[in-house]
Amino acid sequence: MDKIWVIMRKEWSEVFKNRFVLFTVAFLPLILVALPLIMLYFTGSSGGDLSGLSGTDMPTRFAELCGGMTESECGQYFLVSQFMLLFMLMPLAIPVTIASYSIVGEKTTHTLEPVLATPVTTLELLAGKALAAAVPGVTVTWIGFVIFEVGAHLIATSPVVLARLTEPLWLLAIFLIGPLLAIASVSVAVMVSSRAHDPRVAEQLSMLVILPLLAVFFGQIAGLFLINEKLIMWMAVALVIIDAGLFAFAIQLFQRETILTRWK
C-alpha cells in the first residue's frame, strides 16, 4: 500500500505541473456545472412554462419520476436530469488524459526501466498509476456536484425540483457510480497505455471508454429506458464486477519484457 501511495504522489507531482493537464481536469467540470445551473436559471425565471415538454419532447416513461410535480416542474426536472449522466461522464472522462499517458509516457521519457528495476510489483505500479488518475477525476466531480447543488438552491424556484436533486438516485449516481466508472475508465486507459507505442494514440483509444455511457445518455433521452434507483444499483453491481475484471486484465496485459524490449 505504501508503494501505491508513493507512486500516486509522484504522479501528481509530475502531472499537475503540466498546465494543459490542469486545464483538462478543470475545464470539463466547469462546463458541466455551469450548463445545468444556466438551464435551471432560465427555466425557473421563465415562469416554469415548460408544459410543452411533457406532452411532446419528454419520454412518457419519465413521467414515472414526476409524482407530486406540476407539468412544468417535471419538465424542468427532466432537463436537469440529463445532466446527472454528464456528472457521471466526468469521472469517466477526466482521468483518461492522465491514465492513458501513465505507462507509454514513462516509456517515451525512458523513466520506466529504472522503475521496473525496483522491487515494485505490477499490481502496485498499476494501482498507483490508476488511482493517481482516478482520484482527481472523482474529486472534481464531487466538488462540481456540491457547487451545482449550492447553485441550484440559489437559482431554482421550485422546492420540489430542488428536493429531487438531493434524492438517493442522484447521490448514488454521483458518489457510488462515479468512482466505479472512474476505476473502469483508468483500468482501460492504463491497459491501452501499456500496449500503445504513442501517448497520443493511447489517449485517443482510451477515450472510447466513454461510448457506453453516451449510449445510456442517448438511450434515456430517446426514452428507451429510465435511470432510476433500481437501475443505478444494478449498474453498481455490474461495475464492481467489470472493474475487478478490467484491472486484473490490465495486470495480465502489462508485459514488462515486451515493454522494455519491443518499444523503441
Binding site: 508503494k3 508513493v6 509522484k10 507531482s13 505541473k17 526501466e113 529504472p114 521496473l116 522491487p119
Partner: protein
C-alpha cells in the same frame, strides 16, 4: 556473487545472448565489452531480473533469476543506458521517490549522502530537467546506489558525456571499487575498461574472451620488448636473432623490437648479448598493446568466423 550458466536469450529468430557462462567474484569490477547490438544490455536486463532468459540460468547474490526476481531487484542497482529521470521533479525528489520504492530506511540521510558524494547537494531543489548531461548521469548513479546494492550494473556510464564529466564519473566508479561492491560495467570506452576493470569479457552475442586486461594482451599478442639504442647496427639484430628464446627481431629508427618468450627471465641475456656486441642501451621497455587492439582483433576474428558460418544474431 554473480554466476551465469549457458544463459541464452532469443527474441523470435534473433539470438541476442548465446550460451553465456560467467562467474563474478565479490568486489570485482567486471568489464563487459562489445559492439552495438552485441547483447550487452540484454545481458544486464536478465541479470537485474528485468527480463527472463530463454534458456540457461543465473544466480545473482545467491538468488535465481526468473524465480526470485523481487529479491534480486531489492539487492542490485542499475544505471540504465539512458538516465531516465523525472525531469519535472527536483534532484532530491527524484531520489526520494526511488528510495521509497527500494524501501530505504533513512531516506533523507541516504538522499543527502549521495547528493553530497556526487556534488549535487547545492542543486538538490532544481528540476532534473535543468541539469547538464553529466549532472543527470551523476544523479542516475546516485539513484542506483541509494539502497546500498551489493552488485551494481552500469550500462555505458560515460557515453555521451564530455571528457570532464566522464572523468568525474570514472573517478566515482573507481571509488566504489574500494567499497567492495561488485560492479558489472558495460562500456564502449576501452581505456575506461582497462583502467577500472579487474577482468574483462569481450562479448558479441557470445563470449569471445574473458580474462584480466594483462592476460588478454598476453593471450592475443606475443610480448614485445623495445630496446632503445644509441645507434642500431645490423650486427646487433643478428646477435639477438640467434638467441633461442627470441621469436622475431626488427629494427625501427634507433630501436630494436624483440618478440620474446618470458621476458622477465630472458631480458638480462638479451641485454648482455647486445652490450657484448658493442651496443649502447639507453633504456628498455615493453611494447604495450592497447585494449583497443585486443578488442578489435577479437571482434574482427568473430565476424570472420560468423560470416563463415552464416550466423544470424543481434542484441
Amino acid at each position: 556473487m554473480i554466476q551465469t550458466e549457458n544463459l541464452t536469450k532469443r527474441f523470435g529468430d534473433i539470438l541476442a545472448v548465446d550460451d553465456l557462462t560467467l562467474e563474478l567474484e565479490a568486489g570485482e569490477v567486471f568489464g563487459f565489452l562489445g559492439p552495438n547490438g552485441a547483447g550487452k544490455t540484454t545481458t544486464i536486463r536478465m541479470l537485474t531480473a528485468l527480463i527472463s532468459p530463454t534458456s540457461g540460468g543465473a544466480t545473482v547474490l545467491g538468488w535465481k533469476i526468473g524465480q526470485e526476481d523481487g529479491q534480486i531487484r531489492r539487492r542490485v542497482g542499475i544505471l540504465t543506458e539512458s538516465p531516465g529521470l523525472y525531469e519535472g521533479l527536483s534532484a532530491e525528489r527524484n531520489l526520494a521517490f526511488f528510495a521509497r520504492l527500494y524501501e530505504v530506511e533513512d531516506i533523507a540521510q541516504q538522499v543527502e549522502r549521495y547528493l553530497r558524494m556526487l556534488g549535487l547537494w547545492d542543486r538538490r531543489a532544481e528540476s532534473a530537467g535543468t541539469f547538464s548531461k553529466g549532472m543527470r548521469q551523476k544523479l542516475a548513479i546516485a539513484r542506483a546506489l541509494l539502497h546500498e546494492p551489493q552488485a551494481l550494473f552500469l550500462d555505458e556510464p560515460t557515453s555521451a558525456l564530455d571528457p570532464e564529466a566522464a572523468h568525474m564519473v570514472r573517478e566515482f566508479i573507481a571509488s566504489l571499487k574500494h567499497e567492495g561492491r561488485t560492479i558489472f560495467l558495460c562500456t564502449h570506452n576501452l581505456d575506461e575498461a582497462d583502467r577500472l576493470c579487474d577482468r574483462i569479457a569481450v562479448f558479441n552475442t557470445r563470449l569471445l574472451a574473458l580474462d584480466t586486461p594483462t592476460a588478454l594482451r598476453r593471450q592475443l599478442y606475443e610480448r614485445t620488448m623495445v630496446f632503445h639504442l644509441r645507434q642500431v647496427d645490423p650486427r646487433f639484430v643478428e646477435r639477438v636473432r640467434s638467441l633461442p628464446f627470441v621469436r622475431t627481431v626488427r629494427s625501427m629508427d634507433d630501436k630494436l623490437l624483440v618478440a620474446v618468450d618470458d621476458p622477465e627471465d630472458n631480458n638480462p641475456t638479451i641485454v648482455r648479448s647486445l652490450v657484448e656486441a658493442g651496443a649502447e642501451i639507453q633504456f628498455v621497455g615493453e611494447l604495450r598493446r592497447s585494449l583497443e587492439d585486443i578488442y578489435l582483433k577479437l571482434i574482427k576474428d568473430n565476424e570472420e568466423v560468423g560470416s563463415g558460418n552464416g550466423d544470424r544474431s543481434s542484441g
